[in-house]
């Protein structure tokens, strides 16, 4: 946020026309709840606009902010308190236990993926980001992205076709 231009009304219109649906899809795939995804994107958009933030890429900024919002329903103090209450029940991540309401084999498999894998899958397939870009986006190492993507593809392949991890190994992951 240190660089870039203040977002203008035209930037917002362009985002709504060209990028908004893709971003909502990504967030939906991450959190499994389209309404929550729409809310998260809208809140992020309001944030970037109403606060006069300076950003280089509105779509990228809103995607990051919306994924973060969808990722964590807790913030700050109440987040910590709730999290500690959850520890004893062995539910360390509220999102991981959230219902994933879509039907079908792919949806079930996607909903069963750990959150980190789900995020990588959504960014890779719906935003067409490379491993390097996803790493930069999520702030993790490229190797971590590859691992998450590899495991997620194995799981999804098995869900769709019942194939093995060895077959998955033969597939190429673009980096």
């Amino acid at each position: 946020l240190q660089v870039g231009l203040h977002v203008t009304d035209d930037d917002i219109r362009r985002f709504l026309d060209e990028d908004r649906d893709r971003v909502v899809r990504v967030v939906t795939a991450v959190c499994g709840d389209r309404q929550r995804a729409e809310d998260a994107v809208q809140e992020a958009l309001v944030d970037v606009w109403a606060k006069g933030r300076r950003v280089d890429d509105v779509a990228r900024w809103v995607t990051t902010a919306a994924v973060n919002r969808a990722r964590s329903r807790w913030r700050s103090l109440s987040a910590e308190r709730r999290a500690f209450q959850r520890l004893a029940a062995r539910t360390p991540d509220a999102l991981d236990e959230a219902p994933f309401p879509f039907d079908g084999r792919l949806a079930e498999a996607l909903g069963a993926l750990p959150r980190a894998q789900r995020e990588v899958v959504a960014l890779h397939y719906l935003l067409d980001l490379s491993v390097v870009d996803i790493g930069a986006f999520l702030g993790v190492a490229d190797g971590t992205v590859k691992t998450h993507l590899h495991r997620a593809r194995s799981t999804l392949r098995a869900a769709l076709h019942g194939s093995t991890a060895a077959e998955e190994d033969a597939s190429d992951v673009r980096s």
Binding site: I12, A29, A79, L87, R90, R115, A141, S171, R174
Partner: protein, 455 residues
């Protein structure tokens, strides 16, 4: 791209297809929200034209000299206020946490403040600089911090904000880099400005925001400003209490040490299944992930030569509280002392689950390894009084540092994304330094070992 990739992509697009979903976001809805904020600003100023000018002025000053306040994620202007005779600089800011939120803020200056008058303001001041320190209370649902509006979830009811005229500060002063000491887990302390003629200091998280709970005063010599929220500080004491309520009790510390000891014993025995069951899987895996899915992460730990040092004999274990608000998860630090040419090693485990049932205690965060850890600092020889600079800063809130069991001050440099500690006097030999940092979720924890004194 393989057929599988195409299939996954098509499937995801179908799953997330907006058809049939709620109505699309329209530009008007966004614009309406922005208008609401403008209206609110106008109401605050009781003069819409002035309020709009203030917004424009804020944007312009950020363009001129903006940088990011990491605590809020906002741009904050650091351009110099106009200097005046007798202007001061901030030498130190101390923020003390209490049961229910921030309890006290103390600011110390290098000279007497130009004014001593303190006034309550019904709203965030707008419309230009004044000649007095102002303070106000904001509802947690809408906290205005210079140009930004934040919200703060329950149980907090609001914030206490105080405002010091910008022209009281010496020309060129950057109040954001003055030393900030956080004690006993204050929720959050944010500064920004100059904005509308003031620097704003926002104290987040008091459970009570009744005006009568706030006492603000300047010492007779004018060099010290104290903002007291709620009961007087004698209830909390000035000393850091690592194992006292509300941070961490001894039973919790003992339980945390036990689970880590058992985890390490499992690793020594090669029983990775048992070890995996002592780890929550956070943050990589879901809570129901079977041990088979957790074991690879344990194996990754075991592939780190630094980590395996703590499986040897002669290790020391200490338990310290992490950064927290009313609760603090214990951090269990294991120190393997220097052995021949091998430097000392320390790693940290964040442990959770103490509040409801001690029987369900488990490791919440495994130690960081490799480049993601502080091990780059390990093995150094240092002297008492020497400063150690540590990469990284807390995402929200603050940081705590311990040498062994003793808490030491940690200075957070948001501008350079580093933290700094000073090796205390009176320590010698191999020591473990444990750092915990606040995050929006659970605290982060890491440790490293250094040797104090000559070989």
């Amino acid at each position: 791209m393989s057929d599988l990739d195409h299939e996954i992509r098509r499937g995801l697009e179908r799953l997330t297809d907006p058809a049939g979903a709620s109505g699309p976001l329209t530009f008007d809805r966004v614009a309406a929200r922005r208008r609401q904020r403008r209206i609110r600003r106008a109401a605050l100023a009781a003069l819409p034209a002035i309020a709009l000018l203030a917004i424009v002025a804020g944007v312009m000053t950020r363009d001129a000299g903006g940088r990011v306040d990491i605590a809020t994620g906002e741009d904050t202007d650091v351009s110099s206020p106009s200097g005046t005779d007798g202007a001061v600089t901030v030498q130190r800011t101390e923020v003390l946490g209490g049961d229910g939120g921030t309890a006290r803020v103390v600011m110390e200056f290098d000279g007497p403040l130009p004014g001593r008058e303190i006034r309550y303001s019904d709203d965030v001041p707008a419309g230009g600089a004044g000649d007095a320190i102002l303070y106000t209370i904001q509802d947690a649902g809408s906290v205005q911090v210079c140009d930004s509006v934040h919200s703060f979830p329950p149980p907090a009811e609001g914030t206490v904000d105080f405002f010091i005229p910008a022209d009281w500060f010496a020309d060129g002063v950057d109040t954001h880099t003055s030393p900030l000491e956080t004690i006993a887990n204050p929720a959050k302390f944010v500064s920004c400005g100059p904005h509308d003629g003031y620097f704003q200091y926002s104290t987040w998280g008091p459970v009570s925001v009744d005006r009568s709970d706030v006492a603000i005063a300047v010492d007779p010599d004018g060099r010290r400003l104290t903002v007291q929220i709620g009961p007087p500080p004698t209830q909390f004491g000035d000393e850091v209490i690592p194992f006292g309520s509300p941070t961490l009790d001894q039973a919790g510390a003992d339980a945390a040490q036990s689970v880590v000891t058992a985890f390490l014993a499992d690793l020594r025995d090669g029983d990775l299944t048992s070890a995996a069951q002592r780890w929550s899987g956070y943050p990589e895996l879901g809570p129901d992930a079977p041990p088979a899915e957790r074991i690879p992460y344990i194996e990754e730990l075991l592939s780190d030569p630094a980590f395996t040092r703590i499986l040897g004999a002669g290790t020391e274990i200490v338990v310290t509280p992490s950064w927290g608000f009313s609760t603090a998860a214990p951090v269990v630090t294991v120190l393997a002392p220097r052995h021949g040419d091998d430097p000392p090693v320390a790693v940290a485990f964040l442990v959770g689950g103490l509040e409801q049932d001690p029987e369900t205690v488990w490791i919440h965060r495994l130690p960081a390894t490799g480049d993601g850890s502080m091990q780059g600092l390990a093995g150094s020889r240092v002297e008492p009084g020497q400063e150690i600079v540590i990469p990284g800063v807390p995402i929200e809130g603050g940081a705590r540092a311990f040498v062994g069991r003793d808490e030491i001050p940690v200075a957070v440099d948001l501008e350079n994304s580093t933290m700094a500690i000073t090796v205390p006097e009176g320590v010698d030999g191999d020591i473990a330094v444990t750092i915990s940092t606040a995050t929006p979720e659970l605290p982060g924890a890491d440790a490293f070992a250094v040797t104090v004194g000559s070989p």
